[in-house]
């Protein structure tokens, strides 16, 4: 039963241009919460600060201001507290071709988080868990000995999902998990994520720029524009009755078969 909460999160970067330096506010006063068993979609265009939020939540960077709370308490930045946080909050990266080390086999990628967070497991236990994890993401357990370059994009992303699930987390952050995949296999990976979310009672932050999948796969939608959250609410509400101008723009940009074919049927051939 994990709950991750963000309050007043700000991240500024200093840009140096010769002697002048300006500040770029990538994330500006953002607040939301992630609960177990719920999927929250974070939607926005490139450069709107979505991935910066993911990096802040994963403690790959320090926020300039604001706080991140895990189960109501501020998160630990070092020591045993950080290890516990790393076990509970996991991530699926965008690019499955970059997120697996070309030098190591699939088993290494799954065994490391298992060893780190369950140090008392024996070698046989770990092998059994690796097989189980691969089955969970619908991969042949025989792939354990393969290197990443022998796998397809979809298989790699499934391995990355298995790696994120290895420490048995409560929160999963998926940063555009299907944007680098072939259109034909995107649905399979998204369905897998949805199934795992239900079975493991995960809280999922689904970062995307695709409103259609955001509506289909998530309970709540946050719309982000220039570092701010401009709209948030239940998925259908945000899509069907957009309040903010930017959300309306996004919704209009999504191809809508009903509207298109509706127009065509009205014009007589």
């Amino acid at each position: 039963m994990t709950r991750l909460e963000v309050r007043g999160l700000v991240k500024e970067y200093r840009l140096r241009d010769g002697f002048r330096s300006t500040r770029l506010r990538a994330v500006d006063d953002v607040g939301f919460s992630l609960d177990h068993g719920r999927t929250v979609a974070l939607v926005g265009q490139s450069g709107s600060g979505k991935s910066t939020i993911a990096r802040l939540l994963l403690q790959l960077e320090r926020p300039t201001a604001g706080e991140i709370l895990l189960d109501g308490r501020p998160v630990a930045r070092r020591g045993a507290g950080l290890t516990r946080y790393r076990r509970l909050v996991q991530m699926v990266f965008q690019d499955p071709f970059a997120s697996l080390n070309p030098h190591h086999d699939v088993a290494h990628h799954l065994a490391r988080p298992l060893r780190l967070h369950h140090p008392d497991l024996s070698r046989a236990d770990i092998d059994a868990r690796i097989r189980h994890l691969l089955e969970r993401v619908q991969l042949d357990p025989g792939l354990a000995g393969r290197r990443p370059h022998e796998l397809s994009g979809g298989q790699r992303q499934r391995v990355a999902i298995a790696r994120a699930l290895a420490p048995s987390p409560g929160i999963l952050i998926a940063d555009e998990p299907v944007s680098m995949l072939d259109v034909s296999i995107r649905l399979g990976v998204l369905n897998l994520l949805a199934d795992l979310q239900r079975e493991e009672d995960l809280g999922v932050l689904y970062i995307t720029h695709d409103l259609a999948t955001a509506r289909h796969f998530s309970d709540d939608i946050l719309v982000m524009y220039r570092g701010r959250i401009v709209e948030h609410g239940p998925a259908d509400e945000v899509i069907l009755n957009p309040k903010h101008e930017y959300t309306r723009l996004l919704a209009d940009a999504t191809p809508n078969p009903e509207r298109r074919f509706g127009e065509e049927s009205r014009t007589p051939g």
Binding site: L60, T83, Q90, M91, S99, H103, H104, R112, H117
Partner: protein, 292 residues
């Protein structure tokens, strides 16, 4: 196994074996004989020097000496450039700034003049001292290259992923980053060995090399002092010169083949590879234009 690697190993391995085993089989290279300068013959496989020392025995000891210099400089360069290049770039912050400054300072120090000054200052030079001097003046270039690669590797997604998994920093460096640098390290070491052996030969030829030991450079130095060229004593200066050139060429070939492993694009840049494509002359010309 590419052709280059095969050719390189075919030349380098026999020379290394000769350097390792040769000195165990030959006579004392410094033993003076009253037969004087004599051409290759029955008793002396490669003839003798002016003072009747066996050239073949000297060649065996010289090979060993030059290889020791190459090995010591190779290892020291690997350690120094790895430490300053990889650790600094990975740690970031002020450590990176400091290490970067050290690398840049070492980079602009002109190598050979410093080596000559240090060598001239030390009246009694051992082989080890010469190697250390060569190493500390030559590691900076490869440290710079390693720093660049590490900077690019440390922000890759798989490194971030292992941070998210909770890996310790030193383990990320050793297990996730270092294996991807191995081909680069290998080619840097091979280059350092070539540089060291040629540099030592140059120093010795100037009379600034190690005193009291045999290397290919000292052999050439004594051959030149003994007027070998004017006396037509080719057996005295050709063998060390030839081994020096052959070993340098072999290591360069090995280095090229490592480069092709690092950067597969280089593989199609050779004429032999293009011939394998079975294209018409017209198509080949276009392909060449496109890749130039």
């Amino acid at each position: 196994m590419t052709g280059k690697l095969t050719a390189g190993l075919a030349i380098a391995v026999p020379i290394v074996l000769f350097g390792l085993l040769g000195p165990l089989l030959v006579q004392d290279p410094s033993r003076v004989d009253d037969i004087g300068l004599s051409a290759p013959g029955a008793g002396h496989l490669l003839g003798t020097t002016q003072t009747g020392q066996d050239v073949f025995a000297q060649l065996a000891y010289s090979t060993r000496g030059s290889l020791i210099v190459g090995a010591v400089v190779g290892v020291l360069t690997l350690l120094l450039s790895g430490f300053f290049g990889i650790v600094g770039a990975y740690a970031g912050g002020w450590l990176d700034e400091t290490f970067s400054l050290v690398i840049n300072v070492m980079l602009v120090i002109p190598g050979l003049p410093v080596v000559i000054v240090i060598s001239a200052y030390m009246p009694d030079r051992s082989l080890l001292l010469v190697s250390v001097v060569l190493a500390i003046t030559s590691w900076a270039g490869s440290a710079r290259v390693l720093r660049g690669s590490t900077l690019s590797l440390r922000s890759r997604d798989y490194v971030l992923a292992s941070r998210v998994a909770g890996e310790k920093r030193w383990r990320i460096l050793l297990v996730e980053i270092l294996p991807n640098l191995v081909p680069l390290l290998a080619s840097q070491v091979v280059f350092a060995v070539i540089f060291a052996i040629l540099g030592e030969a140059g120093l010795s030829y100037l009379g600034l090399g190690a005193s009291g030991t045999f290397t290919w450079g000292t052999m050439l130095y004594y051959a030149q002092n003994g007027l070998a060229l004017r006396l037509g004593a080719w057996w005295w200066f050709v063998p060390p010169g030839l081994l020096l050139a052959l070993f340098g060429a072999a290591l360069a070939l090995i280095n090229f083949s490592i480069d092709e492993i690092i950067n597969p694009r280089l593989r199609s840049q050779t004429r032999a590879a293009r011939r394998g494509w079975r294209m018409s002359r017209e198509q080949l010309r276009k392909a060449k234009e496109a890749t130039l």
